[in-house]
């Protein structure tokens, strides 16, 4: 389907066009740090995190390359987007020649006002909570298509897509059987059930001295039943499943500051990321029915010439479907506040305070008690950046962090894990982070 769309677009562009834009962009980050304990049995390489979304500045290395071809036709515009991404440890760090590559975007889009159409594979997202590198309301990865309707300062979008995860033999299973009519074995496909994900969003912007933009969002998931082979000639039925999510975001911006609120509520399958198997969370019918998620997130920033402050965080309550109050049922909160001072055209010093809180309903298997894990962290980040602004990138940073892990946080890690041993952790590191998108033609 994707290839066909591309052919159509190329044919169209060759025969009837008057302008072609080529865009290249990239987002990337390369952090490295040490805990300053080399020679003392430590020296491990990653900062502790106990929540789903910790500080952005502690994120693992990641790279996206964005290629966009955009042609302006008589009756509309057409384009395609290709975004390969690379994650995982860097060769220079691990010595392992093994890079993980994913195609995050590969889709074609057509726009003929007031309509838009797209098809392909894409990240389908709203606005992010910058400090935590997190999309609190909507962050889908789907293969499918969608349509939009545009009006002045507003738009409405619909999208539908599919996935079929390979993990855990939950949607997809290949197994070996005796080869038909021969000796040996052959592989057969014994489970292949696709999840359907649909999403709808409506947003509108009211401009003026204060810019206000609300967005309403709905998301639905459906998974048909399937039969899974579990061994010894036994097949078990995985029943159909589904879930719904809904929420809103509200962004308010002015001359010197801005703020965004997100809220999302979800039930059933929509409680989990669409690329995640909700392992350990099923009810006795092996469905996610009964699971629930409530999330509230905020972020805001204020700038006064050379001084800026940005702060954000979220709190969420997640309960799974099994009716058992265990580690899968939890309160989770994460927040960060960063103050920055700009020096000259390229200098920047940031000071960030962050807090992670995790309170699971289940008792901790190590302490046999309820534990509330907390990590408090302060980071000092002098930076050199390409331009003048509080989030201007590319940026080269030195990062020093001081983290305090309470006992509840240390108990989140197995006793044998290095991170469980130290209550106070110092880290010193370097990082580069960039994000740009430019029309190269």
């Amino acid at each position: 389907m994707i290839l066909h769309l591309l052919i159509v677009i190329i044919e169209w562009s060759v025969s009837d066009c008057y302008a072609t834009d080529i865009w290249f962009g990239s987002y990337g980050r390369v952090p490295v740090s040490t805990d300053l304990s080399a020679g003392a049995g430590g020296g491990h390489g990653s900062p502790a995190q106990i929540v789903s979304h910790g500080p952005r500045v502690d994120a693992e290395p990641y790279l996206e390359l964005d290629f966009k071809l955009w042609r302006h036709g008589k009756d509309g515009d057409f384009g395609m987007v290709f975004t390969p991404a690379v994650a995982g440890e860097l060769f220079a760090y691990s010595g392992v020649w093994d890079t993980q590559i994913a195609i995050r975007n590969l889709y074609a889009e057509a726009e003929a006002a007031p309509f838009t159409l797209w098809a392909g594979a894409r990240m389908y997202r709203g606005s992010d909570l910058f400090l935590l590198d997190f999309w609190p309301l909507n962050d889908l990865n789907i293969v499918g298509g969608g349509a939009g309707f545009l009006w002045d300062d507003g738009r409405a979008d619909l999208a539908v897509g599919f996935n079929r995860l390979r993990a855990e033999e939950w949607q997809y299973q290949i197994r070996e059987v005796p080869e038909a009519g021969g000796t040996g074995t052959e592989e057969v496909l014994s489970l292949d059930r696709q999840r359907v994900v649909g999403a709808a969003a409506v947003s509108h912007r009211w401009g003026g001295t204060v810019d206000v933009r609300p967005e309403f969002y709905l998301e639905g998931h459906f998974l048909p039943r399937g039969d899974r082979y579990i061994g010894d000639l036994i097949t078990e039925t995985l029943p159909s499943d589904g879930g719904l999510a809904g929420g809103l975001s509200l962004r308010i911006g002015g001359a010197d500051g801005w703020g965004t609120l997100w809220s999302r509520a979800a039930g059933g399958l929509a409680v989990w990321d669409e690329l995640e198997v909700p392992e350990g969370a099923f009810n006795t019918a092996y469905t996610t029915r009964g699971a629930a998620l409530h999330r509230l997130a905020l972020e805001g920033g204020w700038t006064e010439r050379a001084v800026g402050v940005i702060g954000g965080g979220y709190v969420e309550r997640r309960t799974d479907a099994d009716g058992v109050r265990d580690a899968d049922d939890r309160w989770e909160a994460s927040a960060a506040v960063r103050a920055q001072w700009l020096f000259g055209k390229h200098g920047d010093i940031g000071l960030e305070f962050s807090q992670q809180v995790l309170a699971a309903d289940g008792i901790n298997p190590r302490s046999q008690r309820h534990e509330v894990g907390q990590i408090s962290r302060v980071q000092l980040m002098p930076a050199y950046q390409m331009g003048w602004g509080h989030r201007y990138q590319p940026q080269l940073r030195i990062q020093y962090s001081l983290s305090v892990l309470n006992e509840g946080a240390r108990l989140q890690f197995p006793a044998e894990d290095l991170r469980s041993a130290t209550a106070v952790q110092h880290r010193l590191g370097l990082a580069a982070e960039w994000w740009f998108s430019e029309k190269v033609k």
């Binding site: 029915r289 999330r295 099994d322 058992v324």
Partner: protein, 592 residues
């Protein structure tokens, strides 16, 4: 779309409020040690139900990692857990159960030689819960829920041994060899020796080299986290000296082996004569009472532990229970033996409160109710009670061990009643005896559903096969017996006087008849049962009727199986009651 997502309503309300719901906050009543409660006034009032947790109900599919769920593989994990018991508390209550005996709660070796540790008798950690069953909070919840349903909770424990956590490194090569070949007696004859489970050696298992013996074999502790086969916890149990290290029992008639050798399956025998081992076992099993508010222990493999261990362990556990406010904590054990004197010898002030009544199981329930042995067998067995069991009021609520025997037809270690005798009426007659004799009736799960499995593991069927039906004949029969026992105090706490038994097993008019009176001073009941499969039986022979303690002229009303018929006691208490094959009646004096 069908309305399968009730939580969606929450979403809509949530959207309008745009606040985080406070529902389901983490305030957990089970977060710390529970309040200690006393739930049993007199254990003779209770009806015990033995549930193998892995086989009762699967209430949480998320703890099923490694569970086969294959009904053809009963020697492996099936998926039952404490949540399943919680979900089915009403089932137990409807059956008339007032005390629940559950499988050991501690973390076990996951698997050994392809056999699962689902039963709970392969301890790996004395202080952690079995993750297939739940965590400590779930266990606390189970106990609390059962208490809310009027059901006390008894936990199975093992102090004799741990799971197969080490091997004997006989050839000292640092690995467990399944088969090694040695001339263990110095001859030219080569023996096959497994380092996991070598035969008993009174000196301790010895090392061998090609030149002969080379001293005690070092132990090789296993580190197989994927099977939870790790050195035991707490860490003090990782001391080699805490184990007898003499290998597997080969001669059950040798008491030294019975007490000092490893249990079959390579279950390593703890050196329970050592003070520090005793102290540790007392501590961990005291803690479980504090942690969970349980009401009693059923103790495994009692006769395989040094006898004087019990004189130290039992009083200490009782003292701890009393100290934390738990009254009438029950300690009863398994002496898997038909020797009545041996079973009784472990009871008393320096022993246990009671034991499961294996001698009765073999002689009465197997002998009389399955195989037509004379009912005089019952009289002969009961006549030994005073001599064999503790008669001093040392048990909970001042009840003597003699009066606290745990009666049972079958359990997880023996074939089910219906496997050996497939006539349901025989089972019903035995159940009538079980619920009306003195002592504590103990019902093995699945009996109420007519399960008929043979030897282990066939007798450990998943109960979900039954659909948990409560309208079956056996379920109704048992629940009516439990109700009868609850209704008539004498059937619970009254003394038992046999009024008729017989040596006859042929065509005589009383062949199969057994009758007894239960009397607690305030109420009384006469129970007459015919164990014969083929003919009516009467409490009379050769013109001589049964003599009861009731005065002449006493009118006895039938209370069970249905009310209605009456009998009048004749001169000298004489009474002739006739019942059909494998039938029985319960009579009580008419009011007024």
């Amino acid at each position: 779309m069908p309305s399968i997502y009730p939580e969606y309503k929450n979403i809509l309300s949530y959207l309008s409020l745009v606040v985080v719901s406070a529902a389901g906050c983490a305030d957990d009543p089970y977060a710390s040690d529970p309040a200690i409660t006393s739930n049993v006034d007199d254990w003779r009032d209770e009806v015990i139900y033995q549930a193998m947790v892995d086989r009762f109900a699967d209430g949480d599919v998320n703890n099923n990692e490694g569970v086969t769920r294959d009904p053809a593989e009963l020697a492996r994990w099936q998926g039952g857990d404490w949540q399943g018991l919680i979900d089915r508390a009403s089932y137990l209550e409807a059956l008339g159960v007032t005390a629940l005996w559950i499988s050991p709660v501690v973390a076990n070796v996951e698997e050994d030689a392809g056999i699962g540790g689902y039963h709970g008798y392969w301890t790996r950690s004395f202080i952690d819960t079995n993750p297939h069953f739940g965590d400590i909070a779930k266990l606390r919840e189970l106990v609390a829920v059962m208490h809310d349903h009027g059901i006390a909770v008894i936990v199975d424990i093992v102090v004799n041994h741990v799971g197969q956590l080490f091997y004997y490194d006989i050839n000292q090569n640092g690995q467990p060899d399944i088969t090694t070949l040695y001339a263990t007696d110095g001859s030219d004859t080569v023996d096959i020796v497994t380092e996991w489970d070598p035969a008993y050696d009174p000196r301790g298992v010895q090392s061998f080299t090609s030149l002969g013996e080379s001293g005690p074999a070092p132990l090789g502790w296993v580190y197989m986290p994927e099977l939870n086969r790790l050195p035991p916890e707490p860490a003090e149990f990782q001391d080699d000296g805490w184990y007898h290290r003499r290998g597997r029992v080969t001669d059950w008639s040798d008491q030294a082996q019975v007490e000092l050798a490893d249990f079959p399956g390579g279950l390593k025998d703890l050196a329970t004569e050592r003070p520090e081992v005793r102290e540790a076992l007392i501590r961990v099993f005291s803690d479980w009472i504090t942690w969970t508010d349980i009401d009693g222990y059923r103790i495994d493999t009692v006769k395989h532990v040094e006898r004087d261990f019990w004189a130290e362990f039992a009083p200490a556990i009782r003292a701890h229970a009393e100290e934390i406010g738990k009254e009438n904590f029950l300690l009863f054990g398994e002496v898997f033996d038909g020797d009545d004197a041996l079973i009784g010898s472990y009871t008393g002030a320096d022993g246990l409160d009671a034991n499961v009544y294996f001698s009765q199981k073999y002689q009465v329930f197997d002998g009389v109710f399955k195989d037509n042995a004379p009912t005089s067998t019952i009289a002969a067995l009961f006549a030994q009670r005073d001599a064999h069991y503790g008669i001093d009021p040392t048990g909970p609520a001042g009840v003597a061990p003699r009066d606290l025997l745990v009666n049972f037809l079958d359990n997880h270690d023996v074939p089910r009643f219906l496997w050996q005798q497939d006539d349901t009426t025989a089972l019903q007659a035995a159940l009538l005896f079980l619920f009306t004799e003195d002592g504590l009736p103990c019902l093995y799960y699945g009996t109420e559903q007519g399960f008929s499995g043979g030897n282990d593991p066939a007798n450990r069927e998943p109960l979900w096969r039954s659909g948990y039906a409560t309208d079956g004949a056996l379920f109704g029969y048992i629940s009516s017996l439990a109700a009868l026992r609850a209704e008539i105090p004498a059937l619970r706490r009254g003394s038992l006087t046999l009024t008729w038994t017989t040596d006859h097993t042929g065509a005589e008019e009383d062949a199969g008849a057994v009758a007894f009176v239960r009397d607690d001073g305030a109420s009384s009941a006469l129970v007459v049962i015919n164990a014969s499969a083929t003919q009516d039986a009467a409490t009379s022979f050769g013109g001589v009727d049964m003599v009861t303690p009731f005065p002449a002229g006493t009118v006895l009303e039938q209370r069970w199986p249905e009310a209605g018929a009456t009998w009048v006691v004749g001169a000298g208490g004489a009474l002739r009651v006739e019942v059909g094959p494998r039938q029985g009646v319960v009579l009580v004096p008419a009011a007024g």
